[in-house]
Amino acid sequence: MTTMEIDRRTFIVTSASAAGGLMLGFYMPTGADAGVMGSPWTAEEGGQEVNAWLVIDPDNSVTIRVGQSEMGEGVFTGMPMLVAEELQCDWSKVRAVYADVNRHVQNFAEPYMVAAGAAKETDNLYQRMGTGGSGAVRRSRLYLMQAGASARERLKQAAADAWGVDRSAVTAENGMLSAGDKSGMFGEFAAAAAGIQLESEPAIKTPDQFTLLGTSVARLDTPVKVNGSAVYGIDAQVPDMVFAAVEVAPVPGGSLVSYDFDAVKDRPGVIAAYRLGEGGIGVLHYNLDEVANRVTGIQSGVAVIADTYYRALTALQLMPKEWDDGGHGDVTDTSIINGALEVLANPDDPSYNPAHSVGDARSAIDASSNVMEATYTTPYLDHACMEPMNCTVHVTADRADVWVGTQNPPRAIAAAAEEAGLPEEQVHVHNCFLGTGFGRRSRPDEVRQATAIGKALGRPVKVIWTREETARQAKMRPYSVYHFAAATDANGKPEAYWNRVVSHSIFNHQIPQFLRDGIDSQAVEGLDKRLPYDFANAQVDYAIRDSHLPVHWWRAVGASQNAFALEGFIDELAHAAGADPLQFRLDLLPEDSEFRRPLEVAAEGAGWTTDLRRGEGLGIGMAEAFGTIVVHVAYVTVSRRGQLRVETVDAAIDCGHVIHPKMVEMQMESNVVYGLTAALYGEIHIDKGAVVEDNFDQYLMLRINEMPEVRTHFALSGGDKWGGVGEPGLPPIAPAVANAIFAATGKRIRSLPIRNHDLI
């Protein structure tokens, strides 16, 4: 115990006097009033369900079910805010809990909830339970607000019935209903409200009517995250549970040839070993007719079970094993990239398909004597979630329970059901807090693997992948390579633009039916007709060149790397034209471009200038992703010894509307850190077909001493625009920093990561 510890009363008194009583509303967590339980699938509710989204207790507490997964982005606060805005309950009595995916797969939503709109994924009870695509608010806000509004009107009707007045005479405010001299708490009328049918459902509020939305209320999940009580998947504890350590073929697609359990079976605590899988790489396969998509196949490997994890892990590591490499033993990252560069260098390669075409760029470029060309490359990346992959299961003959932090409970339930051989109704997924997701936790290969182990074992088991296993079994952000050519006029303004892109396609890997005429739309995000810039002639061609590695969505997906290439090349064009990169962009944007305002706001925030000393530079990066535009202006310094420091990032965001400004700022900072980590250090090497960087000693992370100051500027256009927030802040950082490095040093960065470049 440290000497600084002070008790709660001392703190409140002291801080109140120091801050002049400004500590009002300071939240002190106690067991009873915590907004979120440590185990987030557990609802402590004794009340009345008014609709699938909310339960009202007699004491007026409101439990709001959350269909999205809490992985840091704040859905345990933001989603309840959407409901509470309409419900008019007492926000200080709101609790958040995960919606039950078992109910979701078994039940349909009320027709009026479906009719509320927003881009739901199904008509099932909770409409959209996957978390990804920066979609939590923009894709669920309409039906969540409808849930709140419809419940509120039912409460009013129940009170009106009891008081013998018209519903229009009843008001609902802060959890209280009143009409004239009559009043009562929501809790008193919840049971009656649940049974009421309305002739028509109420309209939801427009943004100008918001009172709770748009405020930075305290996050409901903070208290459980400062005292160790928040339960992540890795923390699940089930009576009679044992532990499994697993290792699967280090080369994706390879397999386990043999293992010798006898060599370790007498070690303390060791219970069993199981051979896993028949090969394959746990590909996620989509059947669009089903609620969830299936992850098929478990990669070949072996699990060792023991009474503690460390005993299981030690036995696994000591157990002799032999692997084959599935025929990929001579693959390296260089061989993969070189293969792609070969295609890139040959514009007539038959694997190209046109992704975008305006005018006749190719002829214009062939005919021009003023052509700028450049090639950009970006590597494979690991998500490197803070929490290594894990899953706890209990599989019996007629029921399976799964504890896991997942971005996609419906996929988790489908994976477990299929592997357990049970109908989905008999499978229960208890979603936990996620120690980050970044897309990785939307592919439930760990759930399928754990279910296989749990089924074989017949008792509860927690499966944990080591950090090394998590890295070796990465479901990677694809590599992508780019060739650009532009024919410019006498002033350096591009008249024709031709871009070829070759990448490992996520769609081709797991949703081939999403390819359109050979184009993976995510792989050319921001590069095809979504190009921000106006070129009289433009041609964009795309070719798929896959490897044996499994690929998957990584934060911001295609935009995460495309913006680096595009914005780098635009910067090259600006400098070649002798133009100010800011003005050059403004000149190249269409008159009505939505990029203008955020670009100007970010530049102004940064005090944009090209007049800096050598060793200092400002650089611009911008991109639109998930309906939101973000522009970064990075300020960097590069010492004479080539030491780079990213000092500040001015980030302007236009996501249309904001429901919680502070959480948007947090996401902007988070995206800068995640994107900057990748830009500076991120690279997965492949040797003999397998991942090289398997822990944080080699896969380097940005740390607090390298953290730039991030200044978020809201450049909101409002209106109908509701853009995402969890990812769009990532794509601009790599080009902003690379372009700032050029401004500081004259060194052009055309490949990531930046650490591979000598900046002296």
């Binding site: 600084m4 510890e5 002070i6 008790d7 890795i234 503690t308 944080f696 000693d697 953290m707």
Partner: protein, 153 residues
């Protein structure tokens, strides 16, 4: 082998191999899961605890080396989340996913016990062992300063 550990002021006897990392004993044998596994090689700080008041990576510390010491985990930092760092963390809404935060808070607590009023450079030096994939670094820094203020009255 039976070993006795003093964790958060309570004595626990556990049957484990002496080379078992303290991390897994805390989590699996004693059931204190607030201390997290991130890397297992002393490179991320998620497993940070205090051993005799000093910060330690429990993932690389053998349990045998912890016998006879006073171990403090996030669960024992305060009884009711009233440690100045916890108050400052709540006030500033520092955590995002939260997975790294037990380690961050324990590292920060060790820092504050040495330097009640740390400079930014002190914070850089003391906190650079701790990775946060969510990127909460600026808010961690602010909250450490705020906690110093709270503790100082």
């Amino acid at each position: 082998m039976a070993l006795t550990l003093n964790v958060n002021g309570t004595s626990h006897t556990v049957d484990v191999e002496p080379e078992t990392p303290l991390l897994w004993v805390l989590r699996d044998n004693i059931g204190l899961t607030g201390t997290k596994y991130g890397c297992g090689i002393a490179k991320c700080g998620a497993c940070t605890v205090h051993v005799d008041g000093k910060k330690a990576f429990s993932c690389t510390m053998k349990v045998s080396a912890a016998v006879g010491t006073e171990i403090t985990t996030i669960e024992g930092l305060s009884e009711d989340s009233s440690h100045p760092l916890q108050l400052a963390w709540i006030e500033g809404d520092v955590p995002q996913c939260g997975y790294c935060q037990s380690g961050q808070i324990m590292a920060a607590a060790a820092l504050l016990s040495q330097r009640p009023n740390p400079s930014d450079l002190d914070i850089d030096a003391a906190m650079s062992d701790n990775i946060c994939r969510c990127g909460t670094y600026s808010r961690i820094r602010e909250a450490i300063h705020r906690a110093a203020e709270i503790a100082g009255g």
